[in-house]
């Protein structure tokens, strides 16, 4: 029997295109304070800390150096993961189950607005010998994948555009969203191509923000004020990262991660899940990820489901009620934490205008963007898992 683990506190700020008033440290400090208050704990009670960050997203090498002070973890166990925030949640879960810690804090933030050359960063992530010498905008990799995806599945480019319409519309009811907009399919379809068949409007725009999540063991979770939101399963996985041999068209990393998370949660059917927050860095990715999570018997149904409104807030399977990255903005490593934040708010019944009537079990899924094949899946629920 595994130890039961819950999310007992959340802290966050709205996503914004830029946050010029504060340094990243000041932003994280403010959010961490809120999270600890939400959990009803003092910083001294926390056993271990995890920050998810990449050096070049921060513009500082060995970014780990700059993580402790603003979280209150001076001279305490603290480490970084160069992965998405959801990997951090999985890490916290494992630390607690291993008996290394009772309370773990996971932090991720974005100061994407401080990066002047974001596409050049992605370029620097390409294989230096075989791919980078070609000299192309790395978003073209997403376009290559999208083209393969729609060719293989029969999903149409317009159905991909529907994802943009839905998510930006959803974002209008989310005060944390930076890019809410009432738009329509033809606006998306007529926006210029970044790289055919991928339109400019189908790319999530970067945003600044921060989320801090407090994760705790059962004994602690039962003492806190707020309703604990239980972690039912957490999976993470990579496909081959190599352009030449990775899977094109399907999101294998998400499939592996989902399988592992569903197994842990003891969930046999996706019908048991009330809502989803999945990666939509590019519009087609939402569909590809839903397929990888096992929502549809045939991939083509993913496109139809979106077109028919099944994944809208009032649909059978709400997806990205928060607005996703397309509507809220893309906050680098904090992306996954904004996804799980929405799950916690919904499960707690704190989602305001966008509150779902049924939100007992939710799934968050993340992807690390081009050129990676790396992602994580976390399932949370209002009821503690059976032992």
């Amino acid at each position: 029997m595994s130890e039961r683990v819950a999310i007992i506190g959340i802290g966050f700020v709205p996503l914004q295109p830029a946050t010029p008033r504060h340094s990243f440290k000041e932003m994280v400090f403010e959010v961490a304070q809120k999270a600890y208050a939400d959990a009803g704990i003092s910083f001294e009670e926390i056993d271990s800390f995890v920050t998810c960050a990449e050096d070049f997203n921060e513009g500082i090498s060995i970014f780990d150096e700059y993580t402790p002070d603003q979280l209150g973890c001076r001279q305490k166990p603290m480490h970084t993961l160069t992965q998405d925030g959801l990997h951090g949640i999985a890490d916290a879960l494992m630390q607690i189950r291993a008996g290394v810690a009772d309370i773990v804090v996971v932090e991720a933030h974005s100061k994407a607005s401080n990066i002047i050359t974001p596409d050049w960063l992605l370029d620097y992530a390409l294989d230096p010998v075989y791919n980078r010498p070609l000299g192309f905008n790395p978003h073209a990799l997403a376009a290559l994948e999208m083209n393969r995806f729609i060719d293989q599945t029969g999903i149409t480019a317009s159905q991909c555009a529907d994802v943009v319409v839905k998510n930006r519309l959803n974002a209008r009811d989310n005060p944390l969203a930076a890019y809410a907009l009432k738009t329509n399919r033809s606006t998306v379809d007529s926006s210029p191509y970044v790289s055919y068949p991928l339109h400019e409007e189908e790319l999530a725009k970067y945003a600044d923000g921060c989320v801090v999540i407090v994760v705790a063991n059962e004994a602690t979770a039962k003492k806190v004020v707020n309703q604990p939101v239980w972690i039912l399963g957490a999976g993470f996985a990579n496909d081959s990262p190599t352009i030449e041999s990775r899977c094109w068209g399907q999101a294998e990393y998400a499939r592996y991660a989902a399988q592992s998370a569903f197994l842990q949660a003891g969930i046999k059917s996706v019908d048991d899940i009330d809502f989803f927050e999945v990666d939509d860095t590019y519009a087609y990715k939402e569909l590809q990820h839903l397929i990888a999570l096992g929502l549809y018997d045939e991939p083509v149904e993913a496109g139809r489901a979106t077109e028919s409104g099944e994944t809208r807030r009032d649909g059978k399977t709400p997806v990205n009620v928060s607005g996703g990255a397309l509507g809220m903005g893309l906050p680098l490593e904090a992306h996954g934490l904004y996804r799980i934040l929405e799950l916690v708010l919904q499960v707690r019944g704190q989602a305001g205008e966008r509150q779902l009537s049924r939100a007992k079990i939710g799934v968050a899924q993340s992807w690390r963007g081009v050129p990676t094949t790396s992602g994580a899946v976390v399932i949370v629920g209002s009821e503690a898992p059976r032992g």
Binding site: G59, D64, R74, P77, D127, N238, P241, Y256
Partner: protein
């Protein structure tokens, strides 16, 4: 822990970072007699992306580490990463979520031009420090001065560390800078940043090292000589390093006690048979021995002079040859120390084998802006 392997440490390798990682992973798998398909998860430890020259290099390295189609994480605490990676893998397995983990640490520093040291400029605060054009030597020299000044330590006492470790490395087939030197040789080498001489500094290196760890039932099934992870500890101090007294590494002490408590070690000086502290610079070994509670504050140089830390001494220190002798491909160097604990406690260290069948060792790494202590205690006895 059931397997260990590493590459040679080299000034500049032909191998790509992926190929280096693969060599180490492959050697560790062979040592554990497991196949990749029996590995449940993969942990990568590697230091700044600026060295290998790839943004998000964890993703780039994933296939070389055996991470394709597997749960894969990269943990990162600067120079402390190599030892910390064991802690990461430990709780992945101890959580019950995975039965086996392959842990790979890799660094290819030679990719970075004009000199690998240039990457270190970008570890400083970009606003309040980088405009002064600092280099990595500064912080070591500043710390060493403070250490010497506080405890009245001489430069000769510190030079002995380089002599000992480079000599120990003569018996390490993977070593990059093994040598038989005298204290005079070390002090005769040019001053890089007073009080640091060239021969007191570890080289920049390319290399990789890897281990395999397994849950108890798997370990007992596949290995007749598993080495047990008895304690893990890690601690990170404030980033405001100019506001801290650098004479003593409190964060190493915190990490050490976390690991010792877990291992049931109450008197480290008696219960630890040998140590592999982090020695990127000569004085650091002494500094860290004090943080590890293996020498009283300011007393490590005296114990070294008395021969306590020699191979045949009371507490052999850095029998591998360390970063000063074997080389310093950052994260891989920390992992090399873990490999040394494995080989020494199994009695498989070849010419380096310590006398008296050591049963328990401690490895430690350090990193960031003089901030991180990571500690692992391993031994032949399963912890309670």
């Amino acid at each position: 822990m059931i397997g260990a392997g590493m590459t040679r440490f080299m000034h500049r390798a032909l191998e790509t970072p992926k190929e280096l990682a693969w060599h180490a992973a492959n050697a560790a798998l062979a040592s554990s007699q497991l196949k990749l398909k029996q590995i449940d998860c993969v942990v990568l430890g590697t230091a700044p992306d600026a060295f290998d020259g790839v943004h998000m290099k964890s993703e780039y390295l994933a296939d070389g580490c055996g991470g394709r189609g597997k749960p894969f994480l990269r943990c990162y605490v600067g120079g402390g990463t190599g030892v910390y990676a064991v802690a990461q893998a430990y709780f992945q397995v101890a959580s019950g979520m995975f039965d086996t983990a392959l842990v790979v640490c890799e660094e290819k520093m030679s990719s970075c031009q004009p000199h690998p040291q240039a990457a270190f400029l970008t570890i400083f605060d970009p606003i309040t420090e980088q405009p002064l054009k600092p280099n990595l030597l500064w912080i070591f020299a500043l710390e060493q001065t403070r250490y010497m000044e506080t405890y009245g330590i001489t430069i000769e006492e510190i030079a002995r560390v380089a002599v000992k470790n480079k000599r120990n490395a003569l018996n390490h087939p993977a070593a990059q800078l093994a040598a038989e030197l005298t204290v005079e040789d070390v002090l005769g080498s040019e001053i890089m940043a007073w009080p640091v001489h060239r021969l007191m500094v570890s080289p920049t290196s390319d290399g990789a090292a890897a281990i395999v760890i397994a849950a108890e039932e798997v370990a007992r099934r596949v290995s007749d000589k598993p080495i047990w992870i008895q304690g893990i500890g890690w601690s990170l101090d404030s980033a405001y390093w100019t506001n801290r007294d650098l004479a003593y590494p409190e964060y190493v002490e915190k990490a050490a006690w976390m690991a010792y408590d877990m291992a049931g070690v109450k008197e480290p000086r008696k219960e630890i048979h040998f140590a592999e502290p982090y020695d990127p610079f000569a004085y650091k070994e002494l500094h860290h021995l004090e943080g590890l509670q293996l020498a009283p504050k300011g007393q490590a140089p005296r114990l070294l002079a008395d021969g306590v830390f020699e191979r045949d001494g009371d507490l052999p220190v850095t029998p591998s040859g360390g970063l000063l002798g074997v080389g310093n491909p950052i994260a891989a160097a920390g992992m090399m120390k873990i490999c040394e604990l494995f080989w020494q406690t199994r009695g498989e260290a070849g010419k380096r084998q310590l006398p008296g069948k050591p049963e328990r060792g401690v490895a430690q790494a350090w990193g960031d802006l003089m901030q991180v202590g990571t500690v692992v205690v391993m031994g032949t006895k399963k912890p309670d």
